[in-house]
């Protein structure tokens, strides 16, 4: 009888320890956007001038899935800075239904691609940029001081 009670107490202690561990792990873990809930992807485009161009590999994922952009790294290909804007759409190089994504209020290239003698623009999002379902992701740069850009994230519903 006494041995049975001790076993119960031991199990109860184990369960309690597990629950405490779970609570602490959840409570102490900061909310982070970079936890990848879906399939990871990365796309790039190089030497992008003043022509809207689809990032290689960034065609729309399968129906019902969306691209979540968590990281962007951009640099000018010259010693003078350029600028870029991310846009999405369908058709050849996002030519149909073209909509701005970053910055979403602009239509011209706004975000700097620093000179290739300076540190690149590096943006990591806590709340990812969401490319709507069925849309390709494209980039528009500026002439002469063209942009090389890498975009990373995950695909999820």
């Amino acid at each position: 009888m006494r041995r049975y009670r001790l076993r119960d107490v031991a199990w109860s202690v184990l369960v309690l320890a597990g629950l405490v561990y779970m609570s602490l792990a959840v409570a102490l873990k900061p909310a982070r956007a970079q936890n990848i809930a879906g399939l990871q992807f990365t796309c790039a485009a190089d030497d992008i001038g003043a022509t809207l161009t689809r990032l290689t590999g960034c065609i729309a994922p399968e129906p019902g899935m969306r691209r979540y952009v968590t990281d962007i790294v951009a640099q000018s290909t010259t010693t003078t800075s350029g600028q870029f804007i991310l846009r999405y759409g369908t058709g050849t190089n996002c030519g149909t239904g073209t909509t701005s994504l970053l910055p979403s209020a602009a239509t011209a290239a706004r975000i700097a691609s620093p000179a290739n003698t300076a540190a690149p623009t590096v943006i990591s999002f806590r709340s990812p940029l969401v490319v709507p379902s069925g849309k390709d992701l494209c980039v528009l740069g500026v002439a002469t001081n063209t942009t090389t850009i890498q975009v990373s994230g995950y695909v999820a519903p």
Partner: protein, 149 residues
């Protein structure tokens, strides 16, 4: 008893990993203003009553080769209480000073200004979020976040 206990332990060990995938709580949103001068313009309206806006990311850039300045402002607009573009109960929120625009939107020749506060900036309930820019060097700003209680 033993089976329940074992189940409890397994759940306890699994749940933290599940919780890790929770990126943000609530409905995500993003808003943007472009070529913003030293007037205040609304970026996003207050969510429905009982919810607040939480700002998790800020990306800003001057639209010129000289840095501009900006500030994130909160206030109410026509739909909530008279005035427009945070002109009612207007208050600088980030930075929360009484001064004008303070944060640099990097020149469009330099890496973009990108904030990613570890603790989201909390907008009081019922308040819109606006951007105050710079007259000489207008800014483009994009905010990201989520709405939750």
């Amino acid at each position: 008893m033993r089976r329940f206990a074992a189940l409890g332990i397994v759940l306890a060990l699994l749940l933290p990993a599940t919780g890790e995938t929770q990126a943000v709580v609530g409905q995500p949103w993003t808003c943007s203003v472009d070529e913003q001068d030293d007037s205040t313009v609304r970026c996003i309206a207050a969510p429905e009553p009982g919810l607040r806006l939480y700002i998790t990311d800020v990306v800003a850039q001057s639209t010129t080769s000289t840095a501009g300045l900006f500030n994130i402002v909160q206030g109410t607009a026509t739909a909530q209480g008279g005035g427009a573009d945070c002109s009612t109960a207007n208050a600088n929120m980030w930075p929360a000073t009484d001064a004008g625009a303070r944060y640099a939107a990097a020149a469009n020749t330099s890496a973009a200004t990108a904030f990613r506060p570890s603790s989201p900036v909390i907008v009081p309930t019922g308040r819109d979020v606006c951007i105050l820019g710079d007259a000489g060097n207008p800014v483009t700003v994009q905010l990201f976040g989520y709405s939750a209680p």
